[in-house]
């Protein structure tokens, strides 16, 4: 991995014709310029900028948590904290649904874990056809900055596994920053929430997993 540097829009990242512009960058008279505020990273010959702030940018394959905003004749409209609402079609529910009883499956205000399977001009399409997806019946939902989600999950899920093991809760992290915590006791859930907030707060500390091990060591 190469060094990362903070870059602002319109700033030159590299001054060479050999590099390729990746996400958040643009080629302009021989150099690569940034279009967004974030961390510039060079991989081989590809230059890209990782955003550090702003609203959640939905991508195909992301598992997100959303709230049902509206019921239409053939599906649900779900708010996933993105610039646009997502649509969950009737066909994407892996069970028989009575067309007259969509609200029996999910009513307005219900939360659900969904997966983005397509993004096009017409909107974002989400699905329930995968493991771990479905309506949320119990537990608590909390919110963190979507750009801090990779730190909450940790390298190959190490951080979230640590929190799960130490609190005994089942935690689902949506890429849009919403997190669903389900434990046996409310105290456990609140403890997990506190731990996640602690991670989000210290997300720039290096060796955060070790620090969290210490954090749990003190509490137990």
């Amino acid at each position: 991995m190469t060094e990362r540097k903070i870059i602002i829009p319109g700033e030159k990242i590299v001054d060479s014709k050999e590099f390729l512009p990746g996400e958040g960058t643009e080629k302009r008279d021989g150099g690569i310029y940034s279009l967004i505020f974030g961390l510039a990273e060079t991989l081989d010959k590809l230059v890209k900028v990782i955003p550090l702030s702003g609203v959640y940018n939905p991508r195909r394959g992301n598992v997100v948590i959303g709230q049902v905003e509206e019921i239409t004749f053939n599906g649900w409209i779900i708010n996933i904290n993105a610039p646009e609402n997502a649509f969950l079609s009737l066909m994407e529910v892996p069970r028989y649904v009575n067309k007259d009883g969509l609200d029996e499956i999910m009513d307005i205000g219900d939360m659900a874990v969904v997966k983005i399977w397509g993004i096009n001009k017409r909107g974002i399409d989400v699905s329930l056809k995968s493991i771990g997806l479905g309506k949320i019946d119990e537990g608590i939902i909390m919110e963190v900055n979507p750009h801090k989600v990779p730190r909450v999950i940790g390298k190959e899920g190490s951080m979230i596994k640590l929190i799960k093991d130490n609190t005994g809760c089942n935690i689902t992290v949506g890429q849009n920053g919403l997190i669903w915590i389900k434990g046996n006791k409310v105290e456990d859930e609140l403890f997990a929430k506190k731990a996640i907030l602690h991670v989000a707060e210290k997300c720039f500390v290096s060796g955060l997993t070790e620090e969290m091990e210490k954090y749990f060591g003190g509490k137990k």
Partner: protein, 235 residues
Amino acid sequence: MPEIKRKSGRKADEMRKISAKVGIIPNANGSAMFVSGKTIAIAAVYGPKEHHPRNQRNPAKGTLRCTYNMMSFSVTDRIRPGQNRRSTEISKITEWALEPIVMLDKYPGKVVDVYIHMTQADAGTRCAGINAAAMALAHAGIPMKNIVSSIAAGKLDKTIVLDLDKYEDSEFEEGEGSTDIPMTFTSDGKLTHIQVDGYITPEQLKEAMKMAREASKKIYEVQKQALKDSLGKEK
């Protein structure tokens, strides 16, 4: 060029003390503050989000919606809160100054809301507002071609001066009086907005533009530093 003694003691090409801060409003997607002497502007960016009312949305590209507002306590005499003729005009001017740099084509049918509030006003408010809004937009992660920096140049009697303050803008009446020319530049010196009211010759206008362009580079450095410092805090 005849020398002029400014009431504030500044040189003709000297601007007021400036400072900036990014990330001041936790609930906004992006926010910034810009201080120029006694003028303080804060900007908050919300979005991109669904455009309401829906009949105003543009399916080809996103919309930038700016709202400029002077707080009732920002000037010595309390001003009536709410939109008035002047603030509506400045909102539109701010939109036009920012539109060339913001890449709205990535968000068709969406809107980016920019709210600019002046907590203290001492002339040069639209410039401070644009500077704060540019930083807030970058902080909100919206793709932009560049960052803009805004500064006013002007004319006091026959002398070209930089960054007029309240006294020079509205009370100075010696000789030919004063002319205020707010301008906005990108970091590579391109003009995105200019306003002139008052008398000025084309030669003097060129001179004023040159002076403002130099000053805009200094503002750009302050904006850049403020954006980079906003991450340093958390590190």
